[in-house]
Amino acid sequence: MRRFLPHPLLALFLLSAWLLLMESISPGAVVLGGVLAVGGSWTLASLASPRARLRRLTVLPGLLGDVLVEVMRSNYAVARIIVHPADGGVRRSGFIYIPLDMRAPYGLAALACILTATPGTVWVDYDSAEGTMLLHVLDLVDEAEWVHIVKERWERRLMEIFE
Amino acid sequence: MSAALLGWAVLVTQFLLVAAMGCAAFRLLRGPRAQDRVLALDTLYVIAAMLLLVFGIRTGSPHYFEAALLITLVGFVATAALSKFLMRGEVIE
């Protein structure tokens, strides 16, 4: 199984993307999409990328829900800052370093996607030797609170999934 | 009734999106630095994809979807390439 289909999740994703694009589940579309999916997963295997190991998938729906809520909340927050720039005194934006315990590469990638996709925070850099990441925050009120938010809200659950 | 409501909403949406493209285009021309221009270009791509989707709703034709998909793909490749170009440090002003 592993030799025939090295990256089953990627193959499944490619097949469903193809079927969505074709807008049909006729046998022809399924066969062509299956060939593309297997070819794609072989290509990725030949690039020798590290394999993703997913465990505790039960955490995933809650995490995705929280990401959605957080995206909406910070959309409102950033829109407010843009519309009323001087609201609530002086606003400070800046860089902060956050020490991370997570080392799994796909977990770090997921954390980077979550933080950057949320308006108001951009993941800038990661230093793998020290395990710290550099984050730019638009509304930096309290550095310790941001470290707490990143570690407690996202990193802990991502570690449960990816490590 | 619902056609009239939707027609007006689509018209207003198109005006809002064109205004947003105007803001991004102003930042694209104004700069002041190369990274500001690349950021504005990336925003332009995303708003153009939204505008194409709205055109699709207005005309009722599903073909605009493919144009929107293509423009997001091309926008990603363009922005990634431009950022890499800036990273090389050869275009310091």
Partner: protein, 118 residues
């Protein structure tokens, strides 16, 4: 808009609200590109358009075409997945490029490079 005449009123209303919300967020994000002071602040502005902005328009498009053609139209999900994956990559690359250039010029107040990279 003759093709929209058969839409029920609730659907037309929700498509209209979603479209206006998405376009409004995109406009606020683009205005943020103009109003915010430094590049690192401006990086945050377009994320309004790339998250909820395009998300609202995509949901509106899915709802509209599903009802007009009376079958499920889901391929807008592809654009959503694409945008969700690509936007963080482009913003990260762009911010790092800007940081790299500012560090070389040494003008703007930016954090120093990590010790292991020096």
């Amino acid at each position: 808009m003759t093709h929209a005449a058969e839409l029920p009123a609730w659907a037309a209303l929700s498509v209209a609200v979603l479209l206006l919300l998405g376009a409004g967020l995109a406009l606020v994000g683009a205005v943020g590109l103009l109003r915010l002071g430094s590049f690192y602040e401006r990086v945050h502005a377009p994320t309004l358009a790339t998250t909820l902005g395009i998300g609202c328009v995509l949901v509106a498009s899915m709802l509209f075409f599903s009802l007009v053609q009376s079958r499920f139209i889901l391929h807008e999900v592809l654009i959503a997945v694409l945008v969700v994956i690509t936007t963080p990559v482009t913003l990260m690359l762009l911010t790092r490029a800007a940081l790299y250039r500012d560090r070389i010029e040494g003008k703007a107040p930016v954090p120093p490079p990590p010790r292991s990279h020096r």
